[in-house]
């Protein structure tokens, strides 16, 4: 059974507004590192946010880890979200908090209100956070404030925060668009190796086709809310790319 399956997904932000996603179907298997490419405005960001319902779909079905995402109550939804790690384009860190607190905030879904109030996380969480910070190469920056770090370092904090959730699926929303090419590659390599180690599938929005080809085993091409391509990276031809990016050329 696939980890995530999406059927006939449709999204409209307002009743009269344009349809952003016009019936998308795809599956994510447990060993996938799946890239979603397409021109800006194709609906990549919206699609990825539908998976953990940061955006409410208008129609269709999403099954994640055996649960029907669209019918969950608020409490069940929070339970589901903590199983899904998310990494963002602009890192979305809490700038005024330290690196450690940012990483620990990944555990909020597992933490009660009183503990959250005093920022008193269990010892195991702190230990795990230190491990992950080692893993992403930030062990020297534990007590720095998040806004003191460079872009690449901030994204590493974002990765550590996502890992803290012990996710069963990673959602990556353009994780490298705000970084320069060299750092982008490093960050992608880091995410991929961690995903492999932990055996977690990932769904990744990405603008840079080269990076997608280099790191991902499967590619989905979106254009204007439609799926234009879905297949193994090796089967992606230049003509497919031209098809996907046709709008942008115009």
């Amino acid at each position: 059974m696939s980890v995530l399956s999406v059927r006939n997904l449709r999204v409209r932000y307002s009743a009269k507004g344009p349809e952003i996603l016009k019936g998308i179907d795809f599956d994510v298997e447990s060993d996938d590192f799946l890239a979603m490419i397409g021109p800006s405005g194709a609906g990549k960001s919206t699609l990825i946010r539908c998976v953990n319902r940061l955006v409410e779909p208008t129609d269709g079905q999403i099954t994640l880890l055996g649960q029907d995402v669209r019918t969950l109550s608020a409490r069940e939804l929070r339970g589901l979200r903590r199983n899904v790690g998310m990494i963002f384009q602009e890192f979305n860190l809490i700038n005024r908090m330290s690196v450690m607190d940012n990483v620990l905030s990944g555990r909020l879904g597992y933490t009660g209100n009183i503990r959250s109030l005093f920022r008193h996380f269990p010892k195991e969480d702190v230990h795990r956070a230190l491990d992950y910070l080692d893993r992403v190469g930030l062990s020297d920056h534990v007590n720095k404030r998040a806004d003191e770090l460079s872009g690449g370092q901030r994204q590493r904090v974002g990765i550590a925060r996502a890992l803290m959730q012990q996710p069963k699926l990673l959602l990556l929303d353009e994780p490298t668009s705000a970084l320069d090419p060299k750092i982008s590659r490093e960050v992608m390599a880091l995410i991929m190796s961690i995903a492999k180690e932990l055996g977690v599938p990932a769904l990744c929005n990405i603008h840079d086709v080269q990076l997608a080809k280099e790191f991902c085993n499967r590619i989905i091409g979106l254009q204007d809310g439609y799926k234009k391509f879905d297949g193994d990276t090796k089967t992606l031809r230049d003509s497919d790319l031209e098809d996907i990016y046709a709008m942008e050329v115009l």
Binding site: S98, H127, R128, Y132, V142, E197, L198
Partner: protein
């Protein structure tokens, strides 16, 4: 690699503390001192904490009980309506006088263009600060004791209040100006007064107009109570009815005060946006 990312039993649990020693002492000490001070204050002032927290619920009960229904007939009485007009007149005069007196004081107390840093600067600062420090009601009582009951005392008190209020905002505004024109005027041999007229006034004119209008709005709010201490206007009616325990009338007066303040606030907001548009 995998033992690095998953919890490994053979490695001892590493700990981490949010606070390192000297800073932690400092921040916890401050927090503790504030808490101790607040707790001691409650004890010193003899406050029943439960009563304090329950007072809001009680407030609704008291208002519904004593001040409701407000005696609306009372506030349509011509005498009372005239007092609203008096309040308006007082706030207007106090506002004008205060703003005009505040301008030279603000000039003196602006560090960058003050005519003399050793004499005028402290003089201006002291003038503005003492006008601000003393509450408008105390000014009213003082002026009433010198000038007798009536609107003259009220206007004088509001003037002092407006000097303090506008003076602070004016001098902040002056201190934020672009110093280029000031230097140019000084280089041309202008004296401090000429510098003020030619380099400062053109830069702050619009802002000052906005502040002056805002000052009137705040002065009107203050004017609603100066009468309570003998300064004339609506406050006088408030005091009389409070003393006679005419609670329904008090309720009506408070309602009318709120209504008038809202109207004044609306007018001032409208005027200020008009000034900004004409800029």
């Amino acid at each position: 690699m995998s033992e690095q990312t998953s919890l490994s039993p053979q490695k001892p649990l590493r700990t981490w503390s949010r606070y390192s020693f000297p800073e932690s002492l400092w921040s916890f000490g401050t927090l503790l001192a504030v808490l101790v001070f607040l707790t001691y204050s409650l004890y010193f002032l003899n406050i029943d904490v439960l009563m304090m927290l329950g007072a809001l619920g009680k407030l609704v009960g008291v208002v519904a009980d004593r001040f409701y229904p407000p005696d609306l007939a009372y506030i349509t009485d011509p005498g009372y309506l005239a007092s609203i007009l008096d309040t308006l007149q007082m706030s207007f005069l106090g506002g004008i006088a205060g703003v005009f007196l505040a301008i030279p004081l603000a000039w003196f107390s602006a560090w960058n263009v003050t005519p003399n840093r050793r004499l005028f600067f402290p003089l201006g600062r002291f003038g503005v600060i003492s006008c601000r420090a003393i509450h408008e009601t105390i000014w009213t009582i003082l002026f009433v004791s010198v000038l007798g009951f009536g609107m003259l005392a009220g206007v004088s008190a509001l003037t002092m209040f407006c000097i303090g209020f506008a003076g602070k905002l004016f001098s902040d505004e002056i201190e934020a100006i672009d110093m280029g024109p000031v230097d140019a005027m000084r280089a041309a041999g202008a004296n401090p007064f000429q510098v003020f007229l030619y380099a400062v006034v053109p830069q702050v004119r619009v802002a000052f107009t906005g502040i002056a209008i805002y000052t009137w709005d705040v002065a009107f709010r203050a004017a609603t109570v100066v009468g309570f201490f003998g300064g004339g206007g609506m406050g006088w009616y408030l005091k009389r009815n409070v003393q006679q325990l005419e609670n329904l009338r008090v309720g009506a007066i408070i309602l009318s005060i709120i209504a008038m303040v809202l109207i004044a606030e609306f007018i001032s907001g409208w005027l200020r946006s008009a000034v900004n548009r004409a800029k």
